[in-house]
Symmetry: C2
Subunit: 131 residues, 2 copies
Amino acid sequence: MATVTPLMADGQAVSSVRFDERGLVPTIVQEDGTGDVLMMAWMNAESLRETLETGRTVFWSRSRQELWRKGDTSGDRQLVRRAMYDCDGDTLLFVVEQVGRGACHTGAHSCFTRFLGTPPAAPDNGEDDHE
Amino acid sequence: MATVTPLMADGQAVSSVRFDERGLVPTIVQEDGTGDVLMMAWMNAESLRETLETGRTVFWSRSRQELWRKGDTSGDRQLVRRAMYDCDGDTLLFVVEQVGRGACHTGAHSCFTRFLGTPPAAPDNGEDDHE
């Protein structure tokens, strides 16, 4: 169900987020259920606060230098289900329900569709023919 | 099976990676199979090349200003299974087999263990009692 629900922010947790010299923190967006990594974008303090308050992802657009309420134009909104920060406090992870076509501006489900190389040959998955 | 296998790098793909003004690119590490997001770290061109060539994650340590061959000290190595880059070419995603205790220097499986707030109340998952 595509329900938008604000999070009850933990003030101490939020205040331990470390923004970089530009005032930004890298934010990974992962899909709830599938576990697909959808995209990475940047938040500043204001977009983080608004994300938690509204329950929708809001980023800082470095190219446009403005708040970017994901999906306002495309409809491809992201409804926050879980919000985490890492051991150093310098990276965020939002687990979301992706609404619309997908997370990527290309229309793809995920921004990560291209490979840097050919994976090694898959191991033989024949049943019971080897340990 | 904890097998280290180099990737056959796609030169055109690798050359389209966009490093930031410090020569770094944020790199998400996800566990193969579980889909768990384990950590985020930074690569420069040399660590990316070495990662693909050796099949183990190698990062650039911003604090130590040196190559960081993940697991050399701890044993908690990451064996690359898939290597992707995003639509903008400015973020990488490595899907790995995590060896050892876990990805985090704290000994945790993932660096993302702490919540920024309380998730909304879970929806009623009772069976067949509502649409």
